[in-house]
């Protein structure tokens, strides 16, 4: 990826940023400290909005001059009119969502394209831990124990591809990546992605045009 300006941003966000068209409207769910939104605003003239549950992070985003709402993304997305955004981004959060299908429906209502990234639960380090040690697996991307993990959904790249088709989405773009150095750097994984990639990133669109309300 040739994105020198964004080198400080998390690698999966660098990839996502590269998929965003100039001057588009973007909703970033779980926007954290607002790195992606700030970069998109500065380098792509994007009109961005973020939703962040953590009050301190939301306040920090607003203090950076970003438009950010403090709240729960599952309910905050309901208030927007249809097609309010060109892209809705859900980065590294899908695995923490109780009702992924319902959320994706909401997201595809308010956005033309939905971009999702998540840690790949079928990475070989995960598989080997379960196979050889027989314990709930952990790695850098999934560092939690079974009793304290916020991740309530176990997703693999193949699972997501199947899920997207079943609930009526077309995958228009995807990337499998490995990261290192605190997720700030990384590279694309081209083969055996379901086994070798730490993260998956998918851009999806709803299959059939729906009547606007």
């Amino acid at each position: 990826m040739d994105l020198p300006e964004s080198a400080k941003m998390r690698y999966d966000l660098q990839i996502i940023a590269s998929w965003i068209a100039q001057g588009s409207r973007v909703l970033d769910l779980g926007c954290g400290n607002g790195d992606l939104l700030a970069w998109l605003a500065a380098d792509k003239g994007v009109k961005g909005t973020g939703i962040e549950r953590d009050a301190g992070k939301a306040a920090a985003c607003i203090a950076r001059g970003l438009s950010v709402l403090q709240g729960d993304l599952n309910t905050e997305v309901d208030d927007y009119p249809d097609r309010s955004f060109d892209y809705v981004i859900l980065s590294q959060t899908l695995q923490q969502v109780l009702e992924p299908a319902a959320l994706l429906r909401s997201l595809s209502r308010i956005g033309r394209q939905v971009i999702v990234s998540f840690p790949n639960f079928s990475h070989y380090t995960i598989r080997l831990q379960l196979l050889l040690k027989g314990v709930a697996p952990k790695n850098e991307q999934l560092p939690y124990s079974w009793y304290d993990t916020p991740n309530v959904r176990v997703i693999t790249l193949d699972d997501f591809r199947q899920f997207a088709g079943e609930v009526g989405y077309t995958i228009v773009r995807e990337a499998a990546i490995n990261t290192d150095h605190h997720d700030r750097q990384g590279h694309r994984v081209r083969w055996c992605t379901n086994l070798r990639a730490c993260y998956g990133i998918f851009a999806i669109e709803k299959n059939s045009p729906r009547a606007l309300q």
């Binding site: 009109k47 009050a55 306040a59 607003i62 203090a63 001059g65 438009s67 709402l69 927007y80 309010s84």
Partner: protein
């Protein structure tokens, strides 16, 4: 409505006044009543740019006044600390090195702007209850007349808390083309039954005072007991259970044991009595009646009824920053969220933050770097 004189250089932090709606060109109020002349007391802080494009209007709450900040402490001309010194000043949330800040006393008030204690030109005596029932909209229209007088056609932002926040919202729908950004803090689109109830108790306390005399008490004993009780009630709604536990608990005031009488035993009683008696020195009972009623009548959702949304009422380019406080039980966060929801549905650019604070509704007046940082960053982001 405009008077003929043009303002000279505006001295900072000095209370000035502007009079408009001189007879026969009276101001027609929201309820159809006419009033004039109308005097607006105001103060400004910072320097107005040559292009007059760096103005921020600060709107005050129920019992506030134009003295929002004191830039020159110690010097003559600054009437003590301002009510928002923590927010306004050089390098502060609203930076007076960058912005020209205007704050005016609201219509119906008693700190220099025309209100029920002002002289009624028809009788030569104070208006009392003959003062017309002014609305938040009327207050904002009076502020607009002041801005016209100052030659300011656009505001970088309108910012205010509580009743000041209602004025912010009123500005957005009444003069959308003039407002680039709005910061309503600890406020609501309309009063809940709870808020109206407390206001009504406050009004009843005043009207039950034998000195009130249907509002005709000017020149004689004032309804100080009633006004003090009204303030005590108000003050409780501005605090919170947590803040009162922290500040007072059940601690006794200057004694080891109960007096088993009706004098002050608890610290909280002493505090409220002090708040009440200090308040009557600076506030007019009739003003409290009129302003609380204006707050109760305010209803932004009414204007969005019948298929109209805020998008019809506000400017598309306006940016909003809505702030609420976790322990505010007068205008709880759910009311701020309703506002945020309405703005989102209208496609408006809105940011929202609920600040964790145990100080209740009054939290926005208490020095807190978090609010200042939010406001400073939000204003920076407008550029």
């Amino acid at each position: 409505m405009e008077n003929a004189t043009t303002p000279g250089p505006i001295p900072q932090g000095e209370k000035r006044s502007f009079t408009f709606a001189r007879p026969p060109l009276l101001m027609v109020l929201g309820n159809g009543a006419r009033i004039g002349p109308v005097t607006i007391a105001y103060e400004t802080f910072g320097t107005l740019s040559a292009a007059k494009d760096n103005a921020i209007l600060v709107t005050h709450a129920l019992t506030g006044d134009s003295h929002a900040c004191c830039l020159f402490s110690g010097e003559a001309g600054c009437a003590g600390p301002g009510w928002w010194d923590s927010m306004i000043g050089p390098g502060k949330g609203i930076d007076t090195d960058t912005f020209f800040v205007i704050c005016s006393n609201i219509l119906g008030g008693c700190a220099g702007t025309t209100g029920p204690s002002s002289q009624n030109p028809a009788t030569g005596r104070p208006y009392g209850l003959d003062f017309p029932m002014v609305t938040i909209g009327d207050m904002v229209r009076a502020q607009k007349a002041l801005l016209d007088h100052l030659g300011i056609a656009e505001l970088v932002a309108v910012i205010g808390g509580s009743l000041g926040g209602m004025q912010v919202l009123e500005w957005c729908v009444r003069y959308p083309d003039m407002v680039r950004a709005a910061i309503p803090i600890a406020t609501t689109m309309r009063h809940s039954a709870l808020a109206i109830a407390f206001n009504e108790v406050a009004r009843q306390a005043i009207m039950a005072d034998p000195n009130w005399k249907e509002g005709n008490y000017y020149g004689s004993a004032r309804p100080e007991t009633g006004l003090a009780v009204a303030r005590m009630i108000g003050h409780v709604t501005y605090l919170s259970d947590q803040a009162m536990r922290r500040k007072f608990g059940r601690r006794l005031q200057d004694k080891q044991d109960f007096s088993f009488g009706f004098d002050v035993d608890f610290q909280v009683e002493s505090y409220l009595r002090h708040q009440g008696s200090a308040f009557v020195q600076r506030f007019d009972a009739n003003s409290l009646l009129f302003i609380t009623k204006a707050a109760d009548y305010f209803d932004l959702t009414e204007r969005t009824a019948n298929g109209r949304f805020l998008q019809d009422l506000t400017a598309a380019r306006a940016k909003f920053l809505v702030v609420s406080y976790t322990s505010d039980w007068l205008y709880p966060t759910y009311q701020a969220r309703e506002l945020v929801q309405a703005l989102k549905r209208s496609g408006r650019d809105v940011s929202f933050c609920e600040i964790e604070a145990d100080c209740g509704h009054d939290a926005f007046l208490i020095p807190d770097e978090r609010l200042s940082t939010l406001v400073r960053g939000f204003l920076d982001g407008l550029a």
